[in-house]
Amino acid sequence: MSQQGQGQASTDQLTVEKEIVDRVIARFGDKVKLAYVKPRRIRFNVSKDIILEFARYARDELGFDHPISVAGVDYPKNKLIDVVYHIGSCTNDKFRSSVLVFAVQLDRDDPVMPTLIPIYRGVEYHERETFEMLGVIFDGHPRLERLLLPEDWADIPPLRKDFHTKGREE
């Protein structure tokens, strides 16, 4: 099977992806919102109240055991900040080619959510980066401080859309 257009090649089957969706929906019902199912990618939007429960279920029951990436995306038009976790699996042979994506949509003016370190220890530095780049507060994080930016950074978090690189204001 050629990998060109992984998007199209196996859209009809998606059996593994659908199994993941079915299991999550059976467990959480309408508390989570399915954003999309694509080949090897499943995204749920999860509220911050059940995010820990959701992550624990994903790790213990589905075998999504290691964090690949944590990204924050700023949507000023919707007044939202998405915190997007990409979680992979090394131990569950069936799901290891899939990436489970779950996003928490936070109020842009008060972006606070619990940290996922108790479930995935590896997110510690990813969350710190999201904190300094987008100003998201992770409740319970042991070291929520500067990471990549200069120590005397005094501007707004730079990956917010209303921050502009010098000379590039548009």
Binding site: Q3, V73, C90, V101, L149, L159, T165, R168
Partner: protein
């Protein structure tokens, strides 16, 4: 007349009380880097009790360049050259998922020949990077032959990359829709010759380096990473596979033509610094194997899909990952339908090794710090982006 030392005024020498962080008396806080020759542009704040590290706090960020913000101001094609700057020794590896992501979001087909060329170049770059890293690993453990040999052999592979792309290290060779230009007609022949020589040469590394009792004394049993910690901390690449986890993106989620090529995923169960140095060496054999097979099967034809002047993406998001030389490298790309990406997030393997490093250094001897640090395959410029 004795020399009076005002201990209160010497930072980190306050053995009577507690330091500012409330650590016990007798704990010395050392700042390793960012100018330290053994750390790269990176600082480790290390707290030692005698010569045992009780806590290590990695402090990256000295070479942060805002790659992700930069991406939002440039269109998909303009983003190519600056995105490979964080990892110039493996520039194809860091660009690969980006072009895959752009191809998916802009729906760009890739000619068959280009897929093979990409695989060959990605494997050449894997070896180029591993040799560079191995040389530095060698020199920091005081083994200067192991610095010179990989640096010299690396030139052969760089010559090949230069022949194909025109540039020695920062190739900017992968573009959405294929590769920038076709390889010269003489390339396959020369590549085979160099790769076969290189495969023979690799054996000698074992004799001089891996079988060396001094190297073994400094790495065997040092910094053992258990399998479950490796997974939960998010370790990736050779670090993960040296702890006995068979996980390689080229196998679990093959991209381009990797599913048509025959190669093994190398794992070891020891999880120590030696295994983390040995796995990449074994993987270079596999890379040579992959490149030779791809050279053999490479069809003729076009290598690049002609694009319009300013390709636009569909509205949506895409997450693409590849196995770069240091491990899983992923791009999360959000498009709002404009020619410029709305958000680009790089998840780089070096950044993922930071918590692993902190975990392994805790409880290790200070003298073992270089061998643990370098075995992480950590690259400060890549981690900072």
């Amino acid at each position: 007349m004795g020399l009076e030392i005002d201990r209160e005024r010497i930072p980190g020498f306050d053995v009577e009380g507690k330091d500012a962080d409330g650590m016990d008396k007798g704990i010395l806080t050392l700042s390793v880097g960012p100018q330290h020759p053994g750390s790269g542009h990176f600082r480790l704040i290390v707290k030692v009790d005698g010569d045992i590290i009780v806590e290590a706090l990695p402090d990256p960020g000295y070479v942060h360049r805002g790659e992700e913000k930069m991406c939002e101001y440039r269109n998909y094609i303009q983003n190519i050259p600056h995105l490979e700057r964080p990892m110039i020794a493996d520039s194809c590896g860091i660009l690969y998922p980006y072009v895959l992501a752009v191809e998916e979001i802009c729906n760009i087909p890739v000619p068959e020949r280009a897929k093979y060329i990409r695989v060959i170049m990605a494997e050449l770059n894997r070896c180029i990077f591993e040799l560079y890293w191995l040389g530095i690993y060698g020199i920091f453990l005081g083994h200067s032959t192991m610095f010179m040999w990989p640096m010299a052999d690396r030139e052969l592979l760089i010559d090949l990359a230069e022949m194909a792309s025109g540039a020695r290290v920062t190739h900017a060779y992968f573009v959405p829709g294929g590769v920038r230009n076709d390889v010269p007609d003489a390339f396959p022949e020369k590549a085979k010759r160099h790769l076969l020589y290189f495969r023979n040469r690799l054996k000698e590394y074992k004799d001089i380096f891996y079988d060396n009792p001094l190297f073994q004394a400094r790495t065997v049993g040092v910094g053992i990473l258990r399998r479950e910690d490796a997974i939960n901390l998010g370790a990736t690449g050779p670090v993960l596979r040296a702890s006995g986890v068979e996980h390689d993106i080229r196998k679990v989620e093959p991209y381009d033509v990797y599913d048509e090529l025959d190669f093994k995923v190398i794992t070891m169960n020891e999880g120590d610094s030696f295994a983390r140095a040995y796995v990449p060496w074994l993987e270079m054999y596999e890379s040579v194997e992959i490149a030779l097979q791809a050279l053999e099967r490479m069809p003729s034809g076009p290598v690049r899909t002609k694009l319009g002047p300013n390709p636009k993406g569909a509205v949506g998001e895409v997450f693409k990952r590849v196995e770069a030389a240091r491990g899983e490298l992923a791009y999360y790309l959000v498009s709002d339908g404009n020619p410029k990406p709305y958000r680009v997030k790089l998840s780089v393997p070096s950044f993922r090794e930071i918590p692993v490093m902190a975990h392994l250094l805790k409880g290790a001897k200070l003298a073992d710090m270089p061998s643990i640090y370098w075995s992480m395959n950590y690259w400060p410029v890549e981690a900072d982006r």
